[in-house]
């Protein structure tokens, strides 16, 4: 897929370097959020909630696990688009 196909309308995000900048920005935010655990007092309902960075690790591991297992499930669940009925145009109204 070539992003230059539509060179008539180039935007800031079309430059891969800028996308990388956005990713770095996200990484910085993540580091800040992780480090924030140092600066406040927790009142956990569960013991493990008090572990350093629990929410961050759980969010990351949970997400990766979710996507990879969904990808694996696709091997069994995926069927052709016309599995149930022949495709019709998507037009509406």
């Amino acid at each position: 897929m070539n992003d230059d196909d539509h060179g008539d309308d180039r935007r800031w995000l079309d430059d891969p370097r800028n996308v990388t900048r956005v990713v770095y920005g996200l990484v910085v935010l993540c580091v800040l959020a992780f480090a924030a655990d140092l600066f406040y007092e927790k009142h956990p309902h569960f013991g493990f909630e008090g572990w350093f960075g629990f929410y961050a690790v759980y969010g990351f591991v949970g997400s990766v696990g979710l996507v990879l297992s969904a990808k694996w499930l696709r091997r069994f669940l995926r069927r052709d688009e016309d599995h149930y009925e022949r495709a019709e145009r998507d037009a509406d109204e």
Partner: protein, 560 residues
């Protein structure tokens, strides 16, 4: 006209009679007027009607019914504005009738009135699928209708059992163990999309029209949540049912290609949170379920609106075909992202203020496994609804669509919905004050805000890494097997196999069977033929012997 539900339903009949701005004005004035009537009504029951010795109470206002009815009416206003541009007056009228059934149902004080609105909701809303007027939507509408009618039949059965057991018609706590409780719970379970019973929702909602899907997303399922909250609060089984509902759809949502179907799966996931809240019960659980239901009507409506705008302009909602739309639809992109942030429960957006109530209710009961499931589902909903929807529709690879923004009315409706999402998110007390139980709950604590940001930011980081490393499953043109395969494939093909099998079996067995029977007949009838042993003339004494034997036998039988 003191029943806001009936006001909407009867007023909707005027919609096809008017044209242009008059029709549009009526479409907005009706739900707004109903909202005013609702809030002017005093708490308590209206006039009761005696029928066949049973007491009907068609209008009961209390905090629980009022918060749901308010949510329905707000959703009705938003959907009506969103449907302004449609030329099909059927759809516009049906939206109001459908909204009216949800409002009327949530204000029903007795089970029979509830049942009437329950059925009308299904019967009216099916036109929002049929209105697409394609073969495919005809079939989808029929499947939808079957699910709704089955739910209605189960509820009628449950009500009959209750009346038979002398419980009367009053609609209050029913409970799973009460008479007819299991039947009514099954009826609610269908409309509330319990696991396995959910297939009709993810199967048929994405087949509705652009405005139809927005209306469908608001009413039926949340009407079911209301019924659950009133009839089955604190039912332990619901905690587990709801937790499963939050988790399993997110796997489907990650690999689903049709973005409106992704939203349907995420709706099951959000309903799961509400069902857990009802199952936990208590003031925090029920408040959480009610608040989240109201928030969901708006943010899920907003997301369906934005995907409707994409469908209207590009002709598709398939992730595999879309991308780069932020260039030509920047306003829709931003509004969609407000909806995405709300459903993902970002602080300052509505989902954060409402879902927290449910998670806190679970945590205060120290239900560790359930709580971890809900937290996982919270990260998961951010993945598919929060990131996937905006990312694959508006960003990702530019597919070269150069389209216009949707019509003004659609953008206005989306902006209004986004404003509601942000208002609830910034000032949750506005919604909290409407909730059925008084509570002392502070949503913006430092720990809560930071923990939620950690969860979401690291989920976003996981998404980014997976996409950048190419591990993220690509959007491909496909369908995924779900429980609808049972009634769309397994049962029909099973039936076909059965009929075909019977024919084959008939062909294979009939010939030898006929031959055998003929031979048996020849052998058996041989002695009876004229030349056979029985047919030949008998001698007199042989006849006398036989006669004596038979008479003796008859005598013996008579004596016995």
């Amino acid at each position: 006209m003191s029943n806001p539900g009936l006001l909407l339903i009867l007023g909707a009949l005027g919609v096809p009679l008017l044209r242009g701005w008059a029709r549009r004005a009526l479409m907005v004035v009706l739900p707004v007027a109903a909202l005013v009537v609702l809030w002017l009504l005093p708490e308590g029951s209206g006039a009761t009607i005696e029928m066949l010795g049973l007491e009907l109470n068609p209008l009961r206002v209390d905090a629980l019914s009022r918060v749901f009815a308010t949510g329905f009416l707000v959703a009705a206003v938003l959907t009506a504005v969103f449907a302004f541009h449609v030329r099909d007056s059927l759809q516009q009228a049906v939206i109001l009738v459908y909204a009216g059934t949800a409002v009327g149902g949530s204000l029903a004080g007795d089970l029979l009135t509830l049942f009437v609105f329950w059925e009308l909701a299904g019967l009216s809303s099916v036109f929002l699928i049929w209105a697409r007027r394609t073969e495919r939507s005809n079939r989808a509408g029929s499947r939808y209708l079957v699910a709704q009618v089955v739910s209605g039949v189960l509820m009628m059965g449950g009500i009959a059992v209750r009346v038979g057991a002398g419980e009367g018609l009053e609609f209050s706590y029913i409970g799973l163990d009460g008479p007819g409780g299991a039947l009514i719970l099954a009826a609610v379970g269908i409309k509330c999309a319990f696991p396995v019973l959910h297939a009709w929702l993810t199967d048929t909602y994405p087949e509705a029209t652009i405005v139809g899907a927005v209306a469908l997303s608001a009413f039926t399922t949340k009407f079911a949540v209301y019924t659950l909250a009133r009839g089955f609060a604190g039912t332990e089984a619901l905690v587990w049912v709801g937790a499963v509902m939050t988790c399993f759809p997110i796997f489907y949502a990650v690999i689903e290609n049709d973005l409106r179907r992704v939203l349907a799966y995420s709706m099951v996931n959000q309903l799961g949170f509400m069902v857990v809240g009802v199952g936990i019960g208590g003031s925090l659980g029920i408040n959480g379920a009610a608040a989240h239901a109201v928030a969901d009507m708006v943010f899920k409506g907003l997301l369906f609106m934005s995907m409707g705008a994409v469908l209207l302009r590009t002709g598709t909602t398939k992730g595999s075909e879309l991308g780069g739309l932020y260039k030509s639809m920047p306003q829709t992109t931003v509004l969609c992202m407000v909806g995405a942030a709300s459903i993902s429960a970002f602080p300052l957006f509505s989902g954060f203020a409402t879902k927290s109530l449910i998670l806190t209710a679970v945590a205060e009961e120290h239900r560790t496994v359930i709580w971890l499931m809900l937290l996982f589902a919270s990260a998961g909903v951010f993945h598919h609804a929060g990131i996937k929807i905006p990312y694959f529709a508006f960003f990702a690879h530019d597919r070269g669509f150069r389209v216009a923004e949707p019509p003004v009315n659609m953008r206005v409706a989306m902006a209004m919905a986004a404003a509601v999402c942000v208002t609830i998110g910034v000032a949750p007390a506005l919604l909290y004050d409407m909730l059925p139980y008084a509570m002392d709950y502070e949503v913006f604590t430092t720990a809560h805000v930071i923990n939620q940001l950690q969860l979401l930011l690291f989920a976003a980081l996981a998404f980014t890494l997976l996409v950048r490393t190419g591990l993220y499953p690509p959007e491909i043109r496909s369908v995924n097997l779900d429980f609808d395969a049972v009634y769309r494939r397994a049962v029909p093909s099973g039936w076909q196999a059965l009929t075909r099998g019977t024919t084959v079996l008939g062909d294979r067995l009939a010939k030898p069977l006929r031959r055998r029977t003929e031979r048996l007949w020849t052998v058996a009838s041989g002695p009876l033929r004229p030349e056979g042993r029985v047919g030949a003339p008998w001698s007199t004494h042989q006849m006398v012997w036989w006669l004596a034997l038979l008479l003796g036998l008859v005598l013996l039988l008579a004596l016995l």
